[in-house]
């Protein structure tokens, strides 16, 4: 048996994320004691209509969120309990509605920081409606083997350690939420566990009191003794003492009262729960509560630590008198284990999951990212640059000093080519239309293809092919290209020619050939090709795309990665253009009519639709 919450309890939680977490905790208990889901619905207007995933063991349940308690009860008439876990400013209204709702017998509130006046009104309203309002600031109510309301009881492992899967003989009533857990543990460790445990909350004016629940426990034949954890402030403990001394009670009472330290502290120095405030002239002091309870016949040890002994002693006495009949302990191994998550099982190596993707370049699972094994900060510290990171992430190799210098220079000379080219112009048009940076730069990026910037990859690819298939036969290569590809990518320029060479090409070639020791078969081959093509036509020179493509192939980058250099370099330029346009607050661009040749039909009448 139990009080307040039992196997018939069906609850709705009023509240958002915190409420859902509470429901998940409650479902763990439902699984432990093999009962149906306690939480049947949520009320949280901002998420009306959503479903919340609640696991009862391995069984997935979807619990609906409603916009009002009225709608919940219309569709779920079996609900008899409301758990409130909503912000303090809305807690009063929610609890009042709950107390007014037909079919609701118990309202318990986890919300903390509820104004005192609201709590007082709710208490009064509950008394008038004949219902129980538990809280505010209550961690919940636990009935061993039957029902968990709220997050009381902690994690799953603790539920087992405290024997909460089956009823014992002790009731627990505490003001503090944390100590409700401790008290349940003490009852399991030193006795046979609990029937029910209630946290009434540590506020100044809780909705219920010790006497409310002492009466309930007195009427619950399975409860033989009750552990009370009270504290300084208010008179609830004194009232409990009065209840105990008024007539002969069936249940034994064990108590611990916090706040005796306040006798010796400097005047006015008070701390602990909101309700833990001593009144004038020692009213509600911990000492007076202890004295009253002891006088009434309760066992009150002088420290909280003494509760263990006190519970053990009472338990032994109750065993001796036959009030409690010892039952064989359940083998804990028979209790269900909470199904672990995939991550947990994998950690233990009990399951194999085929990975969805594979990476060979980068790992962010440590304290910082590692690129092909090297930590980013160490690369920085040892003087490596962005060009080395490119080498690592694109080609899984740390470039040599000479190689990385070439990579750096390639990016530097390719970073921008003025506003007129397709990429930059695209980004500028987007910037002028008020488009954000990532989208505007993407607009420029979409221009990169066969006609704009795409030649690097193909130049590298075909010159590499030439080196391999026609090593000493340039005319053979050119012939093959003519038949199979067309013009040689990387050869030819619209403006530049032998007499008017491209400075960037000249610079790059001179640098690579003159100042490095690199072996450059592909570049050498392309220069040989150029000799032949320029002899046919003056402007069929090796252009910048061809030069870069060949050098990168010589640096051992796979040919399909070569376009990346252009994309990366131009991104720098396009971001620059976007920032530039924004700085100038540029206006929306529209083409002037005179830049358009309207090669269209004359205006004419639309024929009737047939």
């Amino acid at each position: 048996m139990s009080i307040l919450a039992n196997r018939d309890t069906r609850a709705v939680i009023i509240g958002g994320v915190a409420g859902v977490n509470a429901a998940r905790r409650m479902a763990q208990f439902d699984f432990l004691v093999n009962r149906p889901l306690t939480v049947r619905a949520f009320v949280y207007p901002p998420e009306e209509g959503q479903q919340k995933e609640i696991y009862r063991g391995g069984e997935l349940n979807n619990v609906t969120v409603y916009s009002s308690l009225g709608k919940v009860l219309e569709e779920n008439p079996e609900i008899n309990t409301v758990l409130i876990y909503i912000g303090a400013s809305r807690a009063y209204q929610s609890a009042k509605e709950a107390l007014d709702a037909k079919g609701i017998k118990l309202v318990t509130m986890i919300t903390e920081g509820v104004p005192e006046k609201d709590a007082k009104r709710l208490r009064k309203h509950a008394l008038e409606t004949g219902k129980i309002f538990n809280g505010p600031s209550s961690i919940g109510i636990m009935s061993a083997g039957e029902c968990r309301l709220g997050v009381i009881g902690g994690e799953y492992k603790n539920l087992k350690l405290c024997n909460l899967y089956r009823p014992g003989s002790f009731g627990v009533i505490t003001k503090s939420g944390g100590l409700s857990n401790e008290a349940m543990w003490l009852c399991a460790q030193n006795g046979d566990g609990i029937t029910s445990a209630v946290a009434i909350g540590g506020d100044a004016y809780p909705g219920t009191d010790f006497v409310t629940y002492l009466n309930m426990f007195e009427n619950d034949p399975d409860t033989k003794a009750v552990v009370i954890v009270g504290e300084v402030g208010g008179t609830l403990e004194e009232e409990a003492a009065e209840w105990l001394s008024k007539e002969i009670r069936r249940i034994r009472v064990i108590a611990s009262i916090g706040g005796t330290c306040q006798d010796v502290l400097p005047q006015g120095m008070k701390f602990g729960h909101a309700g833990a405030k001593e009144g004038k002239k020692g009213l509600g002091s911990a000492r007076s509560k202890i004295n009253a309870l002891r006088a009434a016949g309760a066992v009150v040890p002088d420290t909280f630590g003494g509760l263990s002994k006190a519970i053990k002693q009472v338990y032994q006495e109750l065993l001796k008198s036959g009030a409690i009949k010892p039952e064989a302990e359940l083998d804990e191994k028979l209790l269900p284990a909470l199904p672990p998550s995939v991550q947990e099982v994998m950690k233990q190596g009990d399951v194999i999951v085929e990975p969805l993707i594979r990476t060979t370049i980068s790992d962010d699972r440590g304290e910082e990212p590692r690129y092909v094994g090297y930590s980013a900060s160490e690369l920085c510290e040892k003087g490596y640059g962005i060009e080395d990171v490119i080498g690592l992430l694109w080609n899984k190799k740390l470039p040599s000093k000479e190689e990385s210098e070439i990579i750096k220079r390639i990016i530097m000379i390719s970073a921008d080519h003025g506003p007129a080219v397709s990429g930059a112009f695209g980004a500028i048009i987007a910037a002028c239309a008020g488009i954000d940076l990532p989208q505007a730069v993407s607009a420029g990026m979409t221009m990169i293809g066969p006609r704009f910037g795409g030649a690097v990859t193909n130049a590298g690819k075909y010159f590499k092919y030439g080196v391999k298939e026609y090593p000493n036969d340039i005319p053979g290569f050119l012939n093959w290209m003519k038949q199979n590809v067309g013009p040689v990518p990387g050869i030819g320029h619209r403006v530049k020619s032998l007499k008017n060479p491209d400075k960037r090409v000249k610079y790059l070639v001179e640098y690579v050939k003159g100042q490095t020791t690199l072996h450059t078969p592909c570049l050498d081959y392309a220069l040989e090709v150029e000799k032949i093509t320029t002899s046919k036509k003056d402007n069929l020179i090796l252009n910048v795309d061809g030069t870069i493509g060949c050098i990168l192939v010589d640096l051992d980058f796979p040919e399909y990665s070569l376009n990346g250099f252009f994309v990366l370099a131009r991104t720098i330029g396009m971001i620059g253009h976007w920032i530039d346009q924004n700085n100038q607050n540029s206006r929306l661009i529209r083409l002037y009519d005179y830049l358009i040749n309207y090669a269209v039909k004359e205006e004419r009448t639309v024929p009737d639709k047939r």
Partner: protein, 398 residues
Amino acid sequence: MAKILEGPAMKLFNKWGIPVPNYVVIMDPDRLAQLGEANKWLRESKLVVKAHEAIGGRYKLGLVKLGLNLEGAVDAAKEMIGREIGTSVVHQVIVAEMLDHDEEYYLSIAGNRDGCELLFSNKGGVDIEDNWDTVKRIFIPLDETPSIEQITEAALEAGFIGEVAERVAKIASRLILCFDNEDAQSIEINPLVIRKSDMRFAALDAVMNVDWDARFRHPDWDFKPVSEIGRSYTEAEQQIMDIDARIKGSVKLVEVPGGNIALLTAGGGASVFYSDAVVARGGSIANYAEYSGDPPDWAVEALTETICRLPNIKHIIVGGAIANFTDVKATFSGIINGFRESKSKGYLENVKIWVRRGGPNENQGLAAMKLLQEEGFDIHVYDRSMPMTDIVDLALNA
């Protein structure tokens, strides 16, 4: 419980029609001289100057000066502002009109579980404690308002006579309105004075507590509550409060000078029991501390470092009940970092650390704490099987 200073209380009285003397709150004595040019009452009335701070026993400390003219008030303000009293500094003074009066009354209201209680006496003033048997009480049930006739009748019973009784009843009815509408927990006016020549009343001094949890429905509360611990907060306490205001969960600290047992305890209920256990076993606490509601580890680390710096401590009690949802491993990692940091700065010399805790991830948390032994900490670690406050017994017997 949030006590508010006289200035904001006077402002609320004004709002609800409870008569108050003219007053100003100032930080700069020169400003007072200028206010004097603008306000006749400052030039023509006798004035009282009081330190506008949460400092107990102001009169004895010379922080209340009576019967001054404007010049005297400026001098008094100059003398008070900047004075250091223990850990507090006087930043503001309240300057009020000192009403010549014939009689002093007592009027107060305080909440209780079922409503509130209105108290009055026609023998107010400093001797009210001695005249406590003259105090007349009326219980006012929650959400009910006594009629003016009922209050007048009670006032008559309390010894007020004729028109005075009627006027006192009227002020009392406004006090009830103020109490109800401002989410007050208690208001004490002592003295409420009367000048019979023109039947002028004024609340000369007031102590008011408001429910700080209700501040969400009081947009005009432009004040902050004063310290709840009977003195102003220390720098360390203020730092922890600032962290507390920023985090999920909470961290709290109150310093208790002179003690040698430091507390680094979890949970509002358990922490008080740890303090009790120290006192019960004849020890003296160096502080009260509390972390709860699964605070982030860095906040617990900051609390730990602050506690390690407390002077003359011999033991640190890292205690707590079996947590419902505070992650023991995470909060302990904050404590461990705090201990390491403090040790590297030379603290924790000859300090014994006692640990008892349970809750989510308790095994990992306790194991990590135990490993500190290998780093030379004098640390003793116990799990849930150790009765909660018994580590205090062990510490004091060590």
